[in-house]
Assembly symmetry: C2
Homo-oligomer: 305 residues x 2
């Protein structure tokens, strides 16, 4: 059992990670933003903290004294996070957080990275072979932060795991992303406009993403670890699964939107580190994951009508 501080605990992945950590028997301190709406599970301490306020990271560590830190907080506002200048502030704050954690005696740190750190001219992305070549400010920030903490970790006596998330979907996803927008359109009886759908991607249900992060946190595995299912398939499969599940294949408009010119044809993940070294197996296949997500959207509709 560890004392685990979870930042971003009110976010898309964090909300799923907290109950998994509790079920695994850990003492959990869940940190969310001042505006977070979150009802933490029984026994979880919920701490409100604006991590971007200078000085807050050190205060948080001094108050909570965690042995393990799952640092999920970052700006992930759809449509903005790739380019938002506050990526610089997230690097700045995260470095302060890491150092305070190490100095206070923290043992194990896991951060959340992205497949966007890799060179996307490759189509099979492997942790210790594919070069990193971030093209966006967000990915540049993730590379900058992770390269620094991984370099300094051994001398500070902290073990660092770095989960690179590929694509994810599931309950709680905000508007402005592929799966959420297709669900919203179809459930409202509107046409869902998408591109040709031949781009191949690895989409993982958010509960599995959270489970993978908890498994990584509990493991001694260091360095980059791809967080993905290993099942890379055309986007058309994913949006078609949503159309079938919601019973509105008639409203799916494949090819109605142009694909982005720089959209790579295939981004597959090598998942051997996650499977064999971390020992994590995802629970959802695509059909089960889409069905689960559908139930959540239906519950949202009931809740708002």
């Amino acid at each position: 059992m560890a004392r685990v501080l979870v930042t971003g605990a009110s976010g898309f992945v964090g909300r799923q990670a907290v109950p998994i950590l509790v079920a695994r028997g850990h003492e959990v301190i869940a940190v969310g933003r001042p505006d977070a709406e979150m009802a933490p599970p029984e026994g979880v301490r919920f701490a409100i903290c604006d991590l971007l306020r200078e000085g807050s990271a050190a205060e948080l560590i001094a108050t909570c004294r965690p042995s393990h830190l799952l640092h999920l907080a970052w700006n992930v506002t759809p449509g903005r996070f790739w380019t938002d200048p506050d990526n610089l502030d997230w690097v700045s704050t995260s470095l302060r957080l890491f150092r305070a954690f190490a100095e206070q005696g923290g043992q194990r740190f896991v951060g959340i990275g992205s497949c966007a750190e890799y060179d996307w001219s490759h189509d099979f992305l492997r942790e210790n072979e594919t070069p990193l070549k971030p093209q966006t400010l967000y990915a540049t920030a993730k590379v900058a932060f992770s390269s620094l903490i991984q370099h300094v970790a051994p001398q500070l006596g902290v073990s660092v795991g770095w989960g690179r998330v590929f694509f994810l979907y599931g309950p709680g996803e905000k508007r402005g992303r592929l799966v959420s927008d297709v669900f919203l359109s179809l459930l409202e009886g509107q046409p869902a406009l998408v591109s040709h759908g031949r781009q191949q991607r690895d989409f993982m249900h958010v509960e599995d993403v959270a489970g993978a992060f908890v498994a990584l946190l509990e493991s001694p595995v260091t360095g980059g670890v791809n967080i993905a299912t290993g099942d890379c398939r055309p986007l058309a499969d994913i949006v078609s699964a949503i159309a079938e599940q919601t019973g509105r294949p008639d409203l799916l408009r494949l090819g109605a939107l142009p694909a982005r010119p720089d959209d790579p044809p295939r981004l597959a993940a090598d998942v051997r580190r996650l499977r064999q070294e971390v020992g994590f197996q995802p629970r959802f296949d695509l059909a089960a994951g889409i069905a689960d997500t559908h139930r959540w959207w239906l519950a949202q509709q009931v809740a708002t009508t």
Copy 2:
């Protein structure tokens, strides 16, 4: 004329940069550490600031409102700076400083990097061709910081130049570095123990380094710029010049120390960007630079006896 904020103004390069900026007609605000001993030139505002204190960077920018920022401050304690964990704090603080500068309307930012950012398996280091492959925490930190600010600069309307210093020497150099230690030994009549000296390096007089940074700050050149003379020669030439200058070639012990096993045989700089785009020419050749440094060491001896 610009309003120039200089951080690290009490440091090795900063102390030389401030009078050059004043002579060029700029309004200069020189920022030094609380423990800095510095008598700034007439007309220069000297601000004491511990930049690593959280919140200080934003306060400094709000108070000074510079149009130009020459950010030289960093941990450069000989023997420690390559691995010191406070490299993380310098990245954190520097990112806050940059963002505050941009938000306040700052126009031109120049930071100080290092040839250690490059992949040292190459022997001719060119700004836009040689891959970056930092091996130390210090160099990793410089790459992390510079990659972030260069990525975000266009959208924030700030022009960013990044000077990569090769090797430097001159008046004011601290103990624990090659040129200072050889001078000290020989002036004290002690043997100067050095390695075989066949490693080829580009050493620049600190006044030229400072002049190059001022020229870079005044230019519109963006991205990495090597700060070096273009004259790459064996270390034996440099230490022999010191031995000749001080009249103690008898005390120079080439080969008395083992070379570091990972010491690259040659690290030459492409200086075309500095010469042609920035338009800077160094003032000192090696003989003149060593003679100038000798005068400074003699003055130090007089001052302390």
